[in-house]
């Protein structure tokens, strides 16, 4: 019989059926019975020594010391345990990376895509958003000339030509059905009249 089984039997820690087997074996085996008696004697001795309390114990003082030690332990734990931090919903790193990407993409777009194309894409997106109601009203196939308070311009085949006069605002402007736009400027200093125009080729 294994000594561990005898030790467990002595401590009443064996399952019921194994305890029965050990009990049956010990009845017929003197050696094991002697070992079991020794184990039982050791247990009783240990229990007796544990039950013996030191002389002159002041229970009230002991309770106060234990309470103080527990409080000191808790305070020390507060000092050495890392404080739990609130985690932001979005960390700054991904946000910074996203912002950098946006800047890069915007820069690449600005450098490489002509404004007219950007406007065309914008119009197409607006059309998609409005279910095509805008494009239905502005179906354009030919070149466009325009005149406004910012001067004259021509849009044709993705190209653009705009003419202005040193930041002056035109005093009048007009378009013609033959495909030209003109704007008239008056130089307030010299009185000179200048007319700028764009023409469809």
């Amino acid at each position: 019989m294994a000594e561990t089984d005898l030790a467990l039997y002595a401590a009443h820690d064996l399952p019921f059926w194994r305890a029965g087997v050990v009990r049956f074996h010990v009845r017929g085996c003197g050696e094991c019975r002697g070992l079991l008696d020794a184990l039982c004697a050791d247990r009783q001795e240990l229990r007796r020594s544990a039950d013996d309390m030191p002389a002159n114990v002041d229970w009230d003082q002991l309770a106060a010391e234990m309470t103080a030690n527990i409080r000191v332990g808790l305070a020390a734990g507060e000092c050495v345990t890392p404080r739990e931090r609130k985690v932001a919903a979005i960390s700054w790193r991904p946000a910074a990376i996203a912002a950098g990407l946006v800047v890069l993409l915007a820069g690449a777009w600005w450098l490489n895509i002509p404004r007219s194309d950007t406007e065309t894409i914008g119009r197409a997106l607006r059309d998609m958003a409005t279910g095509g109601r805008i494009s239905a009203t502005q179906e354009e196939r030919g070149p466009v000339v325009g005149a406004s308070s910012s001067g004259v311009e021509l849009l044709e085949n993705g190209g653009r030509m705009g003419i202005e006069q040193r930041g002056l605002e035109p005093v009048m402007f007009s378009v013609s059905t033959q495909g030209s736009a003109s704007a008239r400027y008056v130089d307030q200093d010299t009185g000179q009249v200048t007319i700028t125009a764009t023409y469809v080729q």
């Binding site: 007219s116 009203t137 993705g158 190209g159 705009g162 003419i163 005093v171 402007f173 059905t177």
Partner: protein
């Protein structure tokens, strides 16, 4: 951190490297009546942004090297591969032989990216002299326009001189104040002209043109129609009849739009090249549409014949008497010469204006 600095430097470098100088070419014919004294393209540059964005800011100093007085001049501005052409005109010049004058060109062009520096070409399209003779290749058909400017200038100077003779300086001063008030009361709107079809099939409707008849006009316009949509009007067509005894080869009709608040404004001009012998009727059909930059509900449209060119090259323009109709007076833009004279009055006073009128 160092990576971020590198990225920022790379971006800044990429942007700064895009700017480049432009080449320019000023090409006046050898026998040109105008010679180039000096040029300054210092503020011109090109930026590559998917296409070449070319900004031209140039000043030209020119001299009349002919023996006649120059009344107006048109320069053509273009660049290879760019859309269309542009022009800069000075319509109220009075440069005598040997005299100098300056022209400023401020242009912004976009053209496809190509190898090498972009080139901007400035060429002479036409020069008009005081005897209405013309010099130049006239690529932009500027001769017709420049003759009209000169006819308007002669008409208006004569009007103001007559007024001075009949009503004195006070009468001229009142007329100048009235002109300045009209110029300041302009109700112009930004407008685009789309060549080819630009329609809204759902909301378009046919609308009639009402034509203002100017009794002295050699051409009569009638039976006008156009399609009206949301903030646009297109496909105008109308009949014209030559009621003069001279053949006509070109005419222009002014297109007036009235919104639903009752405001009228000159929206566009409708030029037409057509041959009309005396008493002949013709049909003008324009494949174009007018689109306003702000929403407008068009209530009605009208028009009037604003100029006619005869087969011999001479032109008719409305007289001051015809323009004195209250309605036309509010709609028609003053001529470049009237604006120049009113500027002289504003800056220098009535006496300077009288002296200026005496020069002609």
């Amino acid at each position: 951190m160092s990576n971020k600095i590198y990225i920022a430097l790379a971006l800044a470098g990429a942007i700064s490297l895009q700017a480049q100088a432009i080449n320019h070419k000023i090409d006046f014919p050898k026998d040109s009546p105008v010679s180039l004294l000096s040029e300054d393209f210092g503020n011109s540059n090109a930026t590559a942004r998917g296409a070449n964005l070319i900004e031209v800011n140039a000043g030209l100093s020119l001299r009349n090297s002919s023996q006649k007085r120059i009344r107006s001049m048109t320069l053509m501005v273009s660049t290879p591969d760019a859309a269309g052409k542009g022009s800069v005109s000075v319509p109220t010049l009075d440069a005598g032989p040997g005299e100098t004058f300056s022209v400023h060109i401020g242009t912004r062009l976009i053209r496809p990216l190509t190898a090498g520096n972009p080139v901007v070409e400035v060429t002479l399209d036409g020069v008009l002299f005081d005897d209405l003779s013309f010099y130049g290749p006239d690529v932009l058909h500027s001769q017709r326009t420049m003759i009209r400017w000169e006819l308007e200038a002669q008409r208006d100077r004569k009007y103001f001189k007559t007024l001075l003779a009949t009503s004195g300086a006070e009468g001229l001063r009142k007329e100048m104040l009235s002109s300045l008030a009209r110029q300041g009361d302009s109700s112009q709107r930004g407008v685009q002209m789309v060549r080819g079809r630009a329609t809204n099939l759902d909301t378009e409707r046919e609308s009639q043109f009402a034509f203002l008849d100017i009794p002295e006009s050699p051409v009569e316009a009638s039976s006008g129609m156009a399609r009206i949509g949301a903030s646009l009007a297109g496909a105008p067509r109308f009949e014209v009849r030559n009621r003069s005894n001279r053949p006509v080869r070109h005419l222009e009709v002014a297109w007036i739009v009235k919104d639903q608040q009752g405001r009228e404004f000159l929206a566009a001009s409708m030029p037409a090249d057509m041959t009309l012998v005396p008493n002949q009727t013709g049909q003008v059909v324009q494949d174009a549409a007018l689109r306003f930059d702000r929403p407008i509900s068009i209530d009605s449209m009208s028009g009037f014949v604003s100029s006619v060119e005869f087969a011999d090259g001479s032109q008719w323009i409305p007289s001051r008497g015809a323009l004195d109709q209250a309605r036309l007076r509010q709609l028609i833009n003053p001529s470049p010469e009237e604006q120049r004279l009113s500027q002289i009055y504003t800056r220098k006073g009535i006496q300077a204006l009288i002296e200026e009128l005496k020069k002609f």
